[in-house]
Amino acid sequence: MESLIGLLVAAPLLGAAVLLCGGRRLDRAGHWLGTALAAVSFALGAVLFFDMLGRSGGERTLHQHLFSWIPVEGFQADVAFRLDQLSMTFVLLITGVGTLIHLYSVGYMEHDARRRRFFGYLNLFLAAMLLLVLADNYLLLYVGWEGVGLASFLLIGFWQHKPSAAAAAKKAFLVNRVGDAGLAIAIFLMFTTFGTFAFGEVLAAADGAGEGTLTAIGLMLLLAACGKSAQVPLQSWLGDAMEGPTPVSALIHAATMVTAGVYLITRSGAIYDAAPNAQTVVVIVGAVTLLFGAIVGCAKDDIKKALAASTMSQIGYMVLAAGLGPIGYAFAIMHLVTHGFFKAGLFLGAGSVMHGMNDEVNMRKYGGLRRHMPITFVTFGLGYLAIIGFPGLSGFFSKDLIIEAAFSAGGVRGWVLGGATLLGAALTAYYMTRVMLLTFFGEERWRHRPTATPAEPDVEPAAGRGAAAPGRASGQTAGQAAGAAAEPHPHESPRVMTLPMIVLAFGSVFAGGLFNWGEAFVHWLEPVTRFEHPHPPLPIPVITGATVAVMLLGVGLAWLQYGRRPVPVTAPRGSLLTRAARRDLFQDDFNHAAFVSGGQHLTRSLVYLDHTVVDGAVNGTAAAFGGLSGRLRKVQNGFARSYAVSMFGGAAVLVAATLLMRAV
């Protein structure tokens, strides 16, 4: 069984290699090859899962040692895999959702000339992500960590002809570098403290190390998690990352990669348990991000950016839970999995809407789409009910558990965290209801366009639609141009796209209840993450009741604002908070003022220093040697007599020096 673990990574890696090196010959069938290899990986994961279920709790961890990567004295880095319940959960989520999204992309990217390359990148992402969660040590995890960063960069900038996409990819890459540096420093610290990278040895030895060192390691790991999972203060890249194709947003920037930070914190639980200060910072980051994302999500009119803000907020829940220690780890992972289902489903629904709406992303130009896209409406709606925590659906269970655990943190801390999570739940209900109402209900704002630009006479509506599909291939600008020229004709997406949405909708509805059935999920993870029952200061039914109440409050508020009244196509100016939230609470302005302009000044002064001082010294030295050379070469005057004299002088000096040496 152990030997299958390597194949799990190898299958998508092979796909990436074949698709990226294979050239145009694979253009016709490459997407199916990529999808098939993702499915192979999922099948292998399923086999391993049932094999694991067949063994008792203590014997479920599998190891596979492939080879010694860097075998030097005192520095042993192995390429080895570890498959335990935690990584198994991730493997199934990654390969399962990954396969569905591969399938969806077959339809979504149908008209893109570079579809083969897209699938190559998707396979590369799968391989790197699996490596990340299967690695047996932090160094190999780092390889996967950078691998998913690379895949994310390539896919955000997949439509690189758009300057906005290229800039977004660059921004994601740069912000992630900050986090990656944190991970690298954490690994350095681990090596100097423990002399090893392996999870087993590091985590077992964590108790024995000094608290200061552990706090430093914990904070650096948190920095890494912040970068990858878009947590405050490294959250600014996620909204721009929506420039990538929608399947990418669903898979990488909602379901899997952005949750890697939660995985890292959970995996390193032993370090945080021994470093309470670092744990406190984790909780603070989680709470701040969950509110930050929720507030931003309330103001966004771009459907994908609203969903991205929601992702940020939901990961904030997970990070908060992971920061609570053994009472929260399992809940964090559980919310991660259910969120993987419903958020991927929501993104795919958004992609389906855009597919039918000529790539329009502004929700103010949607409206009433439920009649035109029934399947999308139903699946999106189920995902919506799941995320707001409608009783009985997935999100209800997983989020409610986190809220209970937050209240259980103890004392004032518990009340503050519990309040924050409840407020977050209300905001979630508000912004998701807003998305729902703007998109699927109300009047069909795309029909009556008050400022409709005159259509070009020679473009028929049918031709406009024909142009719209390759318009996605050639970029949003072209798509918008086509959209402006012709009224969109919303239609349901092809079967290959709706099928994954339906499967994910099932997950959104049932996963949470299934997991919570007799605390099955918690017990499944317990051997790895340990588990303590939370003891909230209030009775559990009270908390659950409050959760449902604030959810209904959020829904009601949104309905008052967007359901009862007609929605203007152009956004009103709005309150100060709305305007701030539209600007992502000034995150980019802050980064620009704090880092970018300072960095530019530093660069300019360094260039000046380089030009004057460094170049001056170098050029001065060169000029000095050049001058010396010019003088010395005059000695070479071409007369044999001069040469002979110099030889005679040289011989005299040689003899004299030899004699002098003896005299001294």
Binding site: A622, F625, G626, L628, S629, G630, L632, R633, V635, Q636, G638, A640, S642, Y643, A644, S646, M647, G649, G650, A651, V653, L654, V655, A657, T658, L659, M661, R662
Partner: protein
């Protein structure tokens, strides 16, 4: 009178017993000199049209046979445990001698290829000609020369001359007494003086170079022989081992008459310094370097390449043997002096090269700097010092040969275009030739993955271990200065606009192509995988006493 008569008589009777000569152990030198003698006979008796083919074949076979003999001796153990002194104590057959003889023979084979090249010069009245004068004895520009060119004559004597020079060079690093050393020096110097004068183009410059080389060479030979005389006066013998014993004081004075002279170290010190000076002249170290640029520039380029590579190998071999076998007892006297020479050579060579405008002069100054680098290994006075110098010589000689072979290709109406300004933009028009030259320049500069780096690293490492850390620091600084002018040529070739009336790159025959290819191959192999050759040099690093 009767006493004189008696001594003469006794000389005769002693000479009647023929000394035993180990022909097998001396076979490399004998084969080369034998081939040279046959070459003279070919010149005398073979018809003119057959001479070229016969001479090339003969030279190649002679050198290849000699190389096979060297390999055979080395495999037979003469490089290590069976190392011996042959020829009545005159010639050493040991590791360093065989290693250096091997290098010299390989270099000579490649040099024969460049000598035999007949595709580069435009045909003279239907005859393909090489880089050498049609009739060297004719006055440049005179009627005799024109007639010789019309008749399509060529100077095939270059091949026997080359072989004689090679024979002397083989003997030079193996010489085990001072007289053999001197004779070997003259045997290889005289043919070189002649070869320098034989250029087909710019004959006056070539003849001037030859005369300068001859005059200064004779001058230095005079110092050398004077030094030999003083050393004989000190020790009463010219044998290396004998002098070494007297220096160490392990033998009593051979005769009472010499006892007073031997008490005076002045004879020893002055004699030693003068002999060393004679050898430093041959390697082109500062302040005995001034012939190098003029001769390198004036000589026919194939001769320059051969001379720059092989002379340095032979002369450093002789210098190593002299310092390690004869004068180790005087180490504390000569080491500081050679420090000074090494530093002066490295710095002066590198600095003056900066302002050179002629490729051949540039390479001449570069060779002066390299002489300094090699001296840094010589003064280490350790076994690793010897082996590092052996390795450096192997690396350097092939880079030098290859670089000068490339110089023969870049031509305009006046023959070779050696002015650097004409090389501007060469990389645009002839990327392959420019790339090959860039490889050689990088090797000269000592950039990793070329043989130059491996050699320089070995020499500096040996010097640092031998306690010459300061010398290494100067060496690295000089390398940095030198890198400037090597890289400048690369920049000139690849990043400048070619001038419209720039030179063309001639398409050579298989001879020069082979020479350049061998140079590139050796440069890269020694740079990428030097370990085998370093070990070979390490095994060959012990002198027989």
């Amino acid at each position: 009178m009767s006493a004189t008569h008696g001594s003469v008589h006794s000389l005769w009777t002693v000479a009647a017993e023929a000394p035993s000569i180990e022909y097998a152990q001396l076979s490399p030198t004998l084969l080369v000199l034998g081939a040279a003698v046959i070459g003279i006979l070919v010149e005398a008796f073979a018809p003119r049209r057959l001479r070229y083919g016969a001479q090339v074949l003969l030279a190649f076979l002679g050198l290849a046979g000699a190389f096979a003999a060297v390999v055979g001796l080395a495999v037979g153990g003469y490089a290590t445990e069976k190392a011996a002194v042959a020829g009545v104590g005159a010639i050493a057959v040991d590791g360093p001698a065989l290693f250096l003889q091997g290098i010299i023979l390989l270099v000579a084979v490649v040099a024969v290829f460049t000598f035999a090249e007949r595709r580069l010069e435009p045909t003279a009245h239907g005859t393909r000609v090489d880089s050498f004068a049609a009739q060297p004895a004719a006055v440049p520009g005179g009627e005799g020369e024109r007639a010789a060119v019309r008749a399509g004559w060529t100077t095939t004597e270059i091949f026997p001359l080359l072989l004689f020079a090679v024979g002397g060079m083989l003997l030079f690093p193996a010489a085990n007494d001072l007289l053999t050393l001197f004779i070997a020096l003259e045997v290889f110097s005289l043919p070189l003086y002649l070869l320098c004068a034989l250029a087909r183009r710019r004959r006056l410059l070539s003849q001037e170079a030859a005369v300068k080389y001859f005059l200064l060479g004779a001058f230095s030979s005079a110092f050398l022989i004077f030094g030999i005389a003083l050393l004989y006066g000190y020790a009463g013998t010219v044998s290396y081992a004998g002098i070494a014993q007297v220096v160490e004081g392990s033998v009593p004075s051979p005769s009472p008459a010499l006892a007073s002279a031997m008490a005076s170290d002045a004879l020893l010190l002055i004699g030693g310094a003068l002999v060393v000076m004679g050898l430093l002249f041959k390697v082109g170290a500062v302040p005995f370097h001034m012939w190098t640029p003029d001769v390198y520039q004036g000589a026919p380029t194939p001769v320059t390449g051969f001379m720059a590579a092989a002379t340095k190998v032979a002369a450093f071999g002789a210098l190593l043997r002299l310092l390690y076998v004869v004068l180790p007892g005087l180490r504390w006297d000569w080491e500081p002096v050679l420090w000074g020479v090494a530093i002066a050579s490295m710095l002066a060579g590198a600095v003056i090269a900066i302002t050179q405008t002629d490729v051949k002069r540039l390479l001449a100054y570069s060779s002066i700097a390299h002489a300094g680098f090699i001296l840094a290994g010589v003064v280490a006075v350790t076994p690793s010092g010897v082996s590092s110098v052996l390795f450096y010589l192997l690396a350097y000689s092939f880079v030098t040969l290859g670089a000068f072979a490339v110089v023969t290709l870049v031509r305009d109406a006046g023959g070779e275009a050696t002015h650097l300004s004409k090389w501007a933009g060469l990389g645009r028009r002839s990327p392959l030739v420019a790339a090959v030259f860039a490889v050689f320049l990088l090797a000269f500069a000592g950039i990793p993955l070329t043989s130059g780096f491996a050699g320089k690293f070995a020499v500096f490492k040996a010097a640092a271990e031998g306690g010459a850390g300061a010398l290494v620091v100067v060496g690295v600084i000089a390398s940095a200065i030198a890198a400037f002018f090597y890289i400048r040529v690369i920049v000139l070739m690849f990043f400048s606009e070619p001038s419209p009336e720039g030179p063309t790159v001639a398409i050579p025959s298989a001879f020069t192509t082979a020479a350049i290819s061998i140079g590139v191959a050796v440069t890269l192999v020694l740079g990428v995988a030097p370990q085998y050759f370093l070990e070979l040099a390490g095994q060959a690093g012990v002198f027989v006493r």
